[in-house]
């Protein structure tokens, strides 16, 4: 037998090596079980990995992102005339909508002031840069450079310019991981408009997540808008997600509104407290979206 209790023969070291191998295998199995069951004991490790990797990824990714942006700019430059024409047309259309929005906002404020209304929770926004990407076949997630220190909380909703793209699942001090709506673990209660049909948007790691569990089956049509519905309380109501795209093999697919390829900056939706308005108050809607109320009676008493 090559193994000696106190000897230094080759058999001894081989035995030690095998022992270490078995220990590593068992440790990996234990971590897998904890990871698969989303055990909170791994939270510290996740936070540590986020906080360490996000700045390093940001640093090494900067030149690569610059090259990619330059390539994109060159492409746009070659197509500038058509791009300008498109932008002018968009500006004309949007100017008309701006007038309509301002009129409706003022009218809305007046109507709310006439009643004792509890406004839906309003939101603050934080902008963050996308520094990391899971880039893998099993997970669709991104890492952003905003975390607990910036007021981000677990479950915080993340949007690109206009549409919801996912929510925060892991949080570091200055970084967070966002799981995208296309990820296989993503489940979002949604509402389809028009028709007010409730359903569940289920990611499956494909570009078109699927819709299931309709409240009114048979009324789903192509082109319906898919909005968040606030069932479950994680996503605020009414954030756009995409449109019903196709019905393939009895599965309804959704085309996300967000352009994931161009995702460089994201907006995080931070919930604020409720605001109750008294019947005699004047509601002031500031240009930056802040809502305040003022009581004329109090001013006269003073």
């Amino acid at each position: 037998m090559a193994y000696q209790i106190l000897g230094n023969g080759i058999g001894f070291w081989r035995l030690i090596g095998r022992g270490v191998g078995v220990a590593a295998l068992l440790a990996a199995v234990a971590i897998y079980i904890l990871g698969a069951t989303s055990d909170p004991r791994l939270q510290t490790l996740r936070e540590l990995a986020l906080d360490v990797s996000a700045p390093v990824t940001g640093f090494f990714g900067a030149p690569l992102r610059m090259i990619r942006r330059a390539a994109g700019n060159a492409e746009e430059f070659l197509d500038m005339a058509a791009y300008n024409r498109q932008l002018r047309e968009d500006i004309v259309g949007l100017s008309r909508w701006r007038e309509v929005a301002l009129r409706l906002e003022a009218e809305n404020a007046q109507l709310r002031a006439l009643n004792k209304v509890t406004l839906a929770p309003r939101f603050d926004y934080i902008t963050a840069q996308v520094v990391g990407n899971s880039g893998g076949a099993f997970t669709q997630s991104i890492t952003i450079n905003a975390g607990r220190a910036q007021g981000v909380r677990p479950g915080t909703v993340v949007m690109d310019g206009t549409a919801a793209i996912g929510r925060v699942v892991a949080l570091g001090e200055n970084a967070a991981r966002v799981v995208l709506v296309t990820d296989a673990s993503s489940r979002i209660p949604v509402s389809l408009k028009p028709g007010d049909i409730r359903a569940l948007l289920i990611g499956d790691n494909t570009a078109r997540p699927k819709l299931q569990f309709f409240s009114k089956p048979g009324q789903v049509t192509k082109g319906q808008r898919v909005l968040t519905s606030n069932h479950g309380g994680i996503f605020p109501k009414g954030l756009p997600l995409g449109t019903v795209d196709a019905l393939v093999d009895n599965v309804v697919r959704v085309a996300p509104s967000a352009d994931f390829q161009q995702l460089e900056f994201v907006r995080l939706v931070i919930e604020r407290v409720d605001l109750t308005i008294d019947s005699d108050a004047i509601l002031i809607v500031r240009a930056d979206g802040r809502v305040e109320q003022e009581k004329p009676d109090q001013e006269t008493e003073e």
């Binding site: 090596g17 270490v20 191998g21 590593a24 295998l25 440790a27 990996a28 199995v29 234990a30 971590i31 897998y32 079980i33 904890l34 990871g35 698969a36 791994l42 490790l45 996740r46 540590l48 990995a49 990797s53 390093v56 990824t57 090494f60 990714g61 690569l64 992102r65 990619r68 996308v130 520094v131 990391g132 990407n133 899971s134 880039g135 893998g136 076949a137 099993f138 997970t139 669709q140 997630s141 991104i142 890492t143 892991a170 991981r177 799981v179 995208l180 296309t182 296989a184 673990s185 499956d204 790691n205 494909t206 570009a207 994931f260 390829q261 995702l263 460089e264």
Partner: protein
């Protein structure tokens, strides 16, 4: 004393290049399901050092790197590291003969290594999520990783030569 510095330098080189590869796999250049999955640079570097510096790239180091990769990339913690360790155990006998073989044979060996890893990881991820994961993205990422291997291998061989060049006599 010289042996100590050589060992330290090798360990630093192996760890630094492995972590750098994992970080580079994580850079956000194309996001979402429409973008091509990035090659697993971390796995390529681990395989390279297993061949060329087996004393340094041992099981505890592989465990640490696999765990770091899982945590940084946001995959299910443990799935990647478990797949990596099982692949190392399964293909343990394949590695020593590959060390002296030409690049093409090492490339084929890496193909087998990454195939075992992705197969195990696919099974583990599907089991954890209670649903079969789409295979197309897995195959695509596996292929891109295999295609990239020779480039990284040649680059790392150049890195290996750092510090070995004899000083020219003054």
């Amino acid at each position: 004393m010289k042996a100590f510095w050589t060992t330290t330098w090798t360990a630093a080189l192996v760890l630094a290049t492995s972590f750098l590869a994992i970080i580079l796999s994580h850079i956000a250049l194309g996001v979402g399901p429409d973008s091509t999955p990035w090659p697993r640079l971390g796995t390529i570097v681990v395989f390279f050092w297993m061949l060329h510096r087996p004393g340094t790239m041992n099981v505890p180091v592989i465990f640490l790197l696999g765990l770091a990769q899982d945590l940084i990339l946001g995959d299910i913690p443990g799935a990647g590291v478990l797949a990596l360790i099982i692949a190392v155990i399964v293909l343990d006998r394949m590695l020593p003969p590959l060390r002296t073989m030409p690049l093409v044979w090492r490339w084929l060996g890496f193909g087998a290594f990454i195939s075992v890893i992705f197969a195990i990881e696919w099974i583990l991820t599907s089991a954890a999520r209670l649903a079969f994961q789409p295979l197309d993205l897995v195959l695509l990422q596996g292929c891109t990783t295999i295609v990239v291997y020779p480039v990284i291998s040649v680059a790392l061989r150049q890195v290996l030569r750092i510090g070995r060049t004899p000083r020219r006599a003054l």
